[in-house]
């Protein structure tokens, strides 16, 4: 007897997000998020008699970040801007001193948040965003940006739009969304995109590895589609928290 097994693989877009707002008592807004842990592979198995669905759970690492926001607060004289708030970002790796790569991460987060914030309504002040790495299992930069966005949301500061970061990787021939560090071992290139919630345009992009223009475009489209999932997550988060604001 031959069983015909058709695997209708329905892979989840992203690793599940988990977030708690206001985890820290001192900052004005804070968010702790973990991205990952597992993803579900949903298979439809058609045997001779039955058709049933199987869920397979894969352990996919767990990237965790905590973000805190102070602001608007008083600003150091050398950093004062007369027409808008100055944005300061501090990124802390969990071991060792921050290196140049961390400094670049800081710059990307800073510029991204600056684009999203309505800094012009708080001139001569500073908004301070602090990020602490807790666990890096792939997609640390996108996790940081999402955490920073949620912390800004929690602090209640005025924003033009929200931002969502999605990372993906290009393996030999296909594109895998939100790869874990284990996936990244076999990657040709890894890309991180940040989209705005208004028009879903590209706010920031950071890549490593080599890829073609077509692959870049394809990944961009795929990640944009996946970013909706994160915006949906923000929406559910706000829904959940709005009743206690």
């Amino acid at each position: 007897m031959e069983d015909s097994a058709i695997f209708n693989v329905q892979e989840q877009w992203l690793r599940p997000l988990r977030c708690e707002l206001n985890v820290l008592s001192r900052p004005d807004g804070s968010a702790m998020i973990t991205q990952g842990s597992y993803f579900i592979l949903c298979c439809y198995v058609n045997t001779f008699l039955y058709s049933y669905r199987v869920h397979i759970f894969f352990f996919k690492g767990n990237t965790a970040v905590v973000a805190a926001v102070y602001g608007p607060v008083d600003v150091k004289p050398q950093r004062i801007l007369v027409d808008k708030a100055s944005i300061e970002t501090v990124y802390k790796p969990k071991s060792g001193l921050p290196n140049v790569a961390d400094r670049m991460r800081e710059t990307i987060i800073k510029n991204t948040c600056e684009t999203a914030l309505l800094s012009a309504i708080h001139p001569r002040t500073a908004v301070c965003i602090v990020l602490q790495e807790m666990q890096d299992s792939g997609g640390l930069l996108s996790c940081c940006i999402n955490a920073a966005c949620m912390a800004l949301m929690d602090s209640g500061i005025a924003m033009k739009f929200l931002v969502a970061a999605v990372s993906c990787m290009i393996s030999e021939d296909d594109i895998i969304l939100d790869p874990s560090d284990k996936d990244l071992m076999g990657s040709k290139a890894s890309l991180t995109f940040v989209f705005d919630s208004a028009k879903k345009n590209l706010v920031a992009s950071h890549t490593s590895g080599v890829f073609s223009q077509e692959q870049y475009h394809e990944s961009l489209l795929k990640c944009r589609q996946a970013s909706c999932e994160i915006f949906e997550f923000y929406r559910s988060l706000v829904k959940k928290y709005i009743i206690c604001i």
């Binding site: 710059t107 684009t115 705005d196 706010v203 890549t207 223009q213």
Partner: protein, 284 residues
Amino acid sequence: MDAQYKVIDPVKFYRDHLAHKIRPDGRGLLKFRPAVINVDSIGTADGSAIVKIGNTTVVCGVKLELGVPKPEESNIGWLVPNVTLPPLCSPRFHPGPPSDEAQVASNMLAEILSNASVLDLRALCVVPERLAWAVYLDAVCLNHDGSILDACVVAAVAALRTVRLPRVEHDADKDITKVFPDERSSLPITGAPIPTTHAIFEDEVILVDPTSDEESLASGLVTITVQNDQMCSVYKPGGSPLADENMQACLSRARTRAIQMNNLIEAALAARDKEETKDQKLIS
């Protein structure tokens, strides 16, 4: 008149210019500044190059040193790129520890070189666990007038192309290292990544190869690095959101630009080789 106008309201000054599809320095929106490359410019360095894009000037020197490899990775050497933005290049910078901009530029340079796998680090290992070359790549900016990364990467690649590695012998038993400075071979450099910087002005207009004034007024920057028609970095650190068609246009432009710059590097190297052979002929 122009100068006063620029001081009083730089944004309006630019807006007026861009409305006529021309930039204050006379370029069109999508025109590059002239680029100049000179290789082997510094006699005391193991390899060097000077790149000038418009007024932006970067000198890159390479220094070679022998070291003991790390026990974790015992069969590779080091490539240590560094970008220095001294106070002399722009009034924005102050003496002291490297500014954030310099650190980000250093990291970008390192990322681009490793993404494009310009240099195989295993080629730098002389004796595993014992001896390996460290290649220090120092890019110093002499004049900062925008698109600093473009100039740095081109200078770094051109300088690496001029490096000649001396032959080394190592006697493990007696722990003696012998270096032959006269017997040199060039480094196995593959490819040349070429970055192209675009500035987004007031969320709409895209300028290519911005000057430092344009960079400071821009609402966003995009740097795309291309090697052999393949992308090795698309770097957009925030700034105004960019629609897909604009992004695609930037990518295509970067590809064309890469071919031109590649030819420029080759031409500079060919010119040097020609000179050298001429000199040798004269000596003989």
